[in-house]
């Protein structure tokens, strides 16, 4: 098959980009342990308030600087709607929905994921700056979607 010289160049560029992209994906997944926020952990969304870990919504301290936040998303609120952690804390968010698909977004951080009913959706973030962090639902969930929010106080 005859290939034009330019065709060889752009094919090499395309395949090279794919190799770089997949290599970086592999390094972040296997080297740094990044994974999709919704993994294989499931809960019964019909009975969410009686299922672990959502039977104890709110903050639990795991060790000196690590906390676990179990949060239920529902139309049109998060439960609890406010948590407080010290500066430098790492918070593991476990979020699930009691009804439709929501999202859990802390602007200007990497915490931005869909909250699907029946799944334990997870993300982790270390709060190094004090302040009030807004949490929003950015997945349209109904007429009250725009008012669905919560706050994280970092002191």
């Amino acid at each position: 098959m005859h290939l034009h010289r330019y065709e060889k160049i752009w094919l090499a560029f395309g395949i090279g980009s794919l190799v770089v992209f997949l290599t970086l994906l592999g390094i972040t997944a296997f080297g740094f342990g990044h994974h999709p926020p919704s993994h294989m952990a499931i809960v019964n969304s019909q009975n969410l308030r009686n299922e672990a870990p959502f039977n104890k919504p709110g903050l639990q301290q795991i060790d000196k600087t690590t906390y676990q936040a179990n949060i239920i998303a529902m139309a049109f609120a998060f439960s609890p709607n406010k948590i407080e952690v010290p500066v430098g804390s790492t918070v593991r968010f476990n979020v699930s929905s009691a009804d439709v698909v929501h999202s859990f977004t802390i602007p200007k951080t990497n915490v931005n994921f869909m909250v699907t009913p029946g799944h334990v959706n997870m993300a982790e973030h270390t709060f190094t700056e004090p302040g009030t962090y807004l949490v929003l639902c950015n997945e349209y969930c109904g007429s009250g979607h725009h008012s669905m929010q919560m706050a994280i106080e970092v002191k």
Binding site: Y6, W10, F13, G14, S17, L24
Partner: protein, 52 residues
């Protein structure tokens, strides 16, 4: 007949040369599009790493 065959042979030699069109414009646009995709992906990845 022999003469016609000769003509055909000649035509065969010419055909590939006619198909060889200039790909310069296509090449420039493919590379610009490629650079845009790689650039925007890299920018997003940089933001992701910066926010970790």
């Amino acid at each position: 007949m022999a003469r016609n065959n000769t003509n055909l042979e000649t035509n065969k030699d010419i055909v590939p040369a006619e198909l060889e069109s200039s790909l310069k414009g296509t090449f420039i646009f493919v590379m610009l599009l490629g650079l845009f995709i790689v650039g925007s992906w890299s920018a997003m990845f940089w933001i992701f790493l910066d926010r970790m």
